[in-house]
């Protein structure tokens, strides 16, 4: 119990630190939200810019003349009351915007992560078992090549080759947007299927460029594990090769990759800023980009906070579950390996 309290304390501290640092940075982003919004509105209508400016300023969370400290205090006290502020860019409350965007980002991320780990672990283990074979060499080569391609390049290529392809099957995977038009949101087959189809290309961009490194580490770990005494003893004890592959080799080779899983969550959230822009996929990353572009501090802060919370939760879950995976690591209040 003690341990959970301590962990929660650590998580809250991390959150506070991120909020503070992020606020200082966001506050100092050059450009003015008001100018940006005024330009945008005046472009499309013939309203007097001064009137627009006044109406916007009256609804701002911060006094435009306020100092960093005043702004910070205003923001934090609003935050403590659960108010994330109003976003001019999104045209609605930040909390509404985020609540509506987060599930989509999580969908793409979990598709990518699950797919990537499933493929990499299986592939890496098979490569290890066939070390030095044609299969191993070819896959090592392909793995290195795909790993060195940046995810956004893969995204463009996918849009080009799949998204705008004429082949009937490839039309299944739309190159932009996050859900099919003319389908009402809800747990209907049409909607879920449509959402999945739209998530495929963004997820593939991560997967294709990320699986190689993971598969190669899995291969290396498995080769090392295959050389362990306990694998040899298990063979002599007459265990089936299936059991040895899963319980002995696979199980032990996977352990070091658990950290990669964590790192990949942070990486994916970070790269969603660019990727969701490319696919016009309205998730957290998309809004973060829009917010930075318009110097919309409340929205920026909202997206930072969401990402931090996601990473903190993932770390926590990983911490707790790692001890189930590796009995040598203790969790909870039995002590920690620092």
């Amino acid at each position: 119990m003690n341990w959970y309290l301590k962990r929660t304390g650590q998580a809250l501290f991390t959150l506070w630190a991120v909020v503070t640092v992020a606020f200082v940075l966001a506050w100092n982003v050059p450009g003015s939200l008001v100018d940006h919004m005024v330009d945008r509105i005046v472009q499309n209508s013939n309203v007097d810019p001064e009137i627009v400016r006044e109406s916007i300023e009256s609804r701002l969370m911060f006094d435009p003349e306020a100092s960093l400290l005043e702004g910070y205090l205003t923001y934090v006290s609003a935050l403590l009351e659960g108010d994330l502020g109003y976003s001019f860019v999104a045209g609605q409350d930040v909390s509404t915007t985020l609540a509506e965007a987060v599930p989509w980002t999580l969908l793409v991320m979990s598709l990518a992560t699950l797919g990537m780990f499933a493929i990499s672990l299986a592939l890496g283990a098979i490569m290890a078992y066939r070390e030095g074979s044609w299969f191993d060499i070819a896959n090592t080569f392909v793995g290195i090549v795909t790993t060195s391609v940046p995810y956004f390049v893969a995204a463009f290529l996918l849009i080009l080759w799949v998204g705008y392809s004429d082949a009937p099957i490839l039309e299944l995977f739309p190159p932009r947007g996050r859900r099919p038009p003319r389908v009402d949101p809800g747990f209907t087959v049409a909607f879920v299927w449509g959402a999945l189809r739209h998530a495929v290309l963004p997820a593939l961009s991560y997967l294709i460029t990320g699986y190689g490194l993971l598969a190669l580490s899995m291969r290396g770990n498995s080769i090392q594990t295959l050389g362990e005494d306990y694998v040899r003893v298990a063979e002599l004890r007459g265990l089936s090769s299936r059991r040895i592959a899963l319980r002995y080799v696979g199980r032990n080779a996977v352990l070091p990759l658990y950290t990669s899983l964590l790192l990949s969550i942070g990486f994916m959230l970070g790269s969603s800023v660019v990727l969701e822009q490319i696919f016009q996929y309205h998730g957290v990353g998309y809004w973060m980009y829009e917010a930075i572009d318009a110097t919309d501090v409340p929205l920026m802060m909202g997206t930072f906070i969401v990402i931090t919370v996601c990473v903190v939760i993932a770390t926590f879950v990983a911490d707790v579950t790692y001890s189930m995976l590796d009995p040598r690591i203790k969790s909870g209040d039995q002590g920690e390996a620092y």
Partner: protein, 373 residues
């Protein structure tokens, strides 16, 4: 024993003519003939075990001694036909079950080999530390072994508990633990229990005490002695530690440069070793009673497996070597009833390589053992 390979019977006919026992009545449990292990390497063929002939008597403890890289681990693996790839094992290894037909170990099908291993001939590896799967509880190691051999798990676990308590472990505590939660000595004993859970006839131990401290080594030795009596086990104990195995073994076989060079009853070997290498090895063995100045290391280094000297492999380091030794590889010569040595000049060895340790010469067996009992 019902799984007999058809090819196995033919090897049984030529058996007890050679090596070790001359009292033709000895009941052999394992016969190794002309066993050889070679590895293909870039530099050439590496022969890490060369023409080894050895009989293991039923119910005995035989110690196989040699320095690092002398081929003793290969000999241990050979007995279960478990030489690691890409090593190639050739020769003949015949296993004689208590009742039933002799088994040609190297000719067995995979399925029958699987039954032979652990059910008939079991093995304890060097490095008990790494012989358990770190992500699996100790109990599961026992259960999966029983299941893999279609054994009754209930009865098997009962045996496991008994073995563990015979080894002075608390059965439930050990079974519920993960390997890393056990100390080195506990893990070693748990591993011995695991290797005996299917009630094998022969237990091959490859440096089973190498990673343990001296006290733990001693206590494991006396436990092994008890186990042998209780379970009618035959043990092959492979080690580099001559004084250690001398406490336990009925007979000692000495390996040098991938060959067996001397074999005989423990007493005989300790008191009247006939091969110059064995004598030098005994002189090199640290002894509390021998003054430090009299400690001798053996001059030179053990040969490279790719480039073994012609003739007697020990000749470059041997004070007795002459042209014959350089030209010819000596066969085993009869030293005494059950004592053989592969040396042309075994009669002169005692004079040329005198024992330095005073007490070892006087009464080696007791001087080594009694201190620790």
């Amino acid at each position: 024993m019902t799984d007999q390979d058809t090819r196995s019977t033919q090897t049984a006919t030529h058996s007890t003519e050679r090596t070790g026992s001359t009292d033709g009545t000895a009941d052999h449990v394992l016969e190794i003939r002309d066993a050889e292990v070679s590895f293909e390497m870039d530099r050439g063929v590496s022969r890490v075990m060369d023409h080894v002939d050895l009989d293991v008597h039923r119910g005995e403890i035989i110690g196989v001694v040699g320095e690092s890289g002398s081929g003793k681990s290969m000999l241990a693996s050979s007995m279960l036909d478990a030489v690691v790839d890409p090593g190639v094992l050739s020769g003949e290894i015949t296993y004689y079950p208590e009742d039933g037909e002799p088994v040609d170990v190297l000719g067995l099908s995979d399925r029958k080999l699987k039954r032979l291993r652990w059910e008939e001939i079991s093995m304890v590896f060097q490095g008990a530390m790494s012989s358990f799967n770190p992500t699996m509880g100790v109990r599961e190691h026992f259960v999966e072994t029983l299941e893999a051999h279609d054994d009754d798990v209930e009865a098997g676990m009962e045996r496991a508990r008994e073995l563990l308590s015979d080894l002075y472990l608390e059965p439930e505590r050990v079974l519920d633990a993960y390997p890393h939660e056990l100390s080195g000595g506990m893990r070693q004993r748990a591993l011995i229990a695991l290797s005996l859970v299917l009630e094998p006839e022969v237990l091959v131990m490859d440096e089973p005490t190498a990673a343990l401290d001296l006290l733990m080594q001693r206590s494991i030795l006396s436990l092994l002695e008890d186990l042998r009596e209780k379970h009618d086990l035959t043990m092959v104990f492979i080690t580099h530690d001559l004084p250690l195995v001398a406490e336990l073994a009925d007979r000692i076989a000495v390996m040098y440069a991938f060959e067996l060079i001397e074999i005989g009853p423990t007493d005989e070997i300790l008191r009247h070793a006939a091969h110059p290498y064995t004598r030098a090895l005994l002189n090199a063995t640290p002894n509390l009673d021998a003054p430090l100045e009299e400690m001798r290391s053996i001059e030179g280094a053990a040969p490279d497996p790719v480039d073994v000297p012609d003739g007697c492999t020990y000749h470059p380091r041997c004070p007795l070597a002459d042209e014959t030794c350089v030209a010819d590889d000596p066969d085993f010569r009869q030293v005494d009833a059950a004592h053989e040595a592969a040396c042309f000049h075994w009669e002169d060895a005692a004079e040329a390589v005198p024992f330095t340790g005073v007490d070892v010469d006087a009464d080696p067996q007791t001087s080594i053992t009694e201190e620790h009992r």
